[in-house]
């Protein structure tokens, strides 16, 4: 059997044009547009997961959010993937940012789901996702931001 090393295989993308606004809490929630059910290419040894979304301060200017890549079998529970997490934290900074995450995980056989979950440190350090303020000269003018997800397999050689 032959296969193509060092090339993109089983590419999938999800573009979520108008995700609903999400406010992080101390309870885990799934980032809208981040979940995908995926079967890696046969003979691949890595799966690349790339997600882009926006984050903004919420209520006060301090943010302390966490992001965790989770994987799960179909119908089963999800668990964190080692080394695939991230923070977003600033004090009194009225911070806003585009989050571009790239996680690379070992490949697997069959179908699994991947998703990004988020929570925050406490209720005074929340973050708002998918909607940014300060448009057109006003803090009250906000814009909805899309979410882009790309997933593919590769066999490194």
């Amino acid at each position: 059997m032959t296969f193509n090393p060092n090339q993109i295989m089983n590419y999938q993308s999800i573009y979520t044009k108008s995700p609903g606004e999400q406010i992080t809490t101390t309870t885990l929630q799934v980032v809208s547009g981040s979940e995908i059910t995926y079967q890696p290419a046969i003979h691949s040894n890595f799966v690349v997961y790339e997600l882009s979304f926006t984050q903004d301060y919420y209520d006060d200017g301090t943010c302390r959010a966490n992001y965790y890549l989770e994987s799960g079998s179909l119908g089963g529970s999800f668990s964190e993937v080692e080394g695939c997490l991230n923070n977003f934290g600033f004090n009194d900074a009225v911070a806003k940012d585009i989050k571009n995450l790239m996680f690379i995980v070992p490949s697997w056989e069959g179908t699994k789901s991947l998703r990004l979950s988020t929570d925050c440190y406490d209720s005074d350090r929340q973050v708002r996702l998918h909607r940014t303020a300060f448009w057109e000269g006003s803090s009250n003018t906000t814009k909805v931001n899309s979410v882009s997800l790309e997933v593919f397999s590769i066999r490194n050689q």
Binding site: R64, N66, N87, G89, N91, A93, N100, I104
Partner: protein
């Protein structure tokens, strides 16, 4: 009949490095997981180098980094030199600057295998940070490793 593939990705290589944390101070260091020895596709017009890493607020509350890309030739590294390839991510905050940095460089191709890496330092001893960890995990102040990721590939075509 033969066909020339154009505007295509070739020779893709990815890596995720299970690495220890790394203090970014005033002494320049190679970012863990950023070094790759890579051979571009012989017909490539550009090489795309992407690197993603996290950093958190230790030992200083804010951070101001200088990052530049270097390439190896005959065993010796040198900066690619262009001012616009030097990136200064930074955050001025009273407590707890923590985020990730997503970098992408578009490079001219080269012949054969060469090393490419990123070098980083802090602006001063008051703006140091620690790479490849989080300082908050769920509702705790806790260091957890964050694996830096790298993607490099050749672009064929105009």
């Amino acid at each position: 009949m033969s066909y020339l593939i154009k505007n295509d990705i070739q020779n893709l290589f990815v890596s995720s490095t299970n690495t220890s944390s790394q203090l970014i101070s005033t002494t320049e260091v190679t970012l863990n997981g950023s070094e790759v020895y890579y051979t571009p596709h012989p017909q490539s017009k550009k090489v795309i180098y992407e690197y993603n890493f996290s950093f958190s607020w230790y030992p200083d509350t804010g951070n101001l980094l200088n990052i530049q890309i270097e390439q190896e030739s005959s065993g010796a590294y040198s900066s690619l030199g262009d001012e616009w390839r030097r990136i200064p991510p930074g955050h001025n905050t009273s407590v707890g600057a923590a985020t990730n940095c997503s970098l992408m460089y578009i490079l001219d191709p080269w012949q054969g295998k060469k090393g490419t890496r990123l070098r980083a330092r802090s602006h001063s001893s008051s703006w140091e940070t620690t790479a490849h960890i989080t300082r908050v995990y769920h509702q705790s102040v806790l260091d957890k490793p964050v694996f830096p990721t790298l993607k490099i590939y050749s672009i064929i075509g105009d």
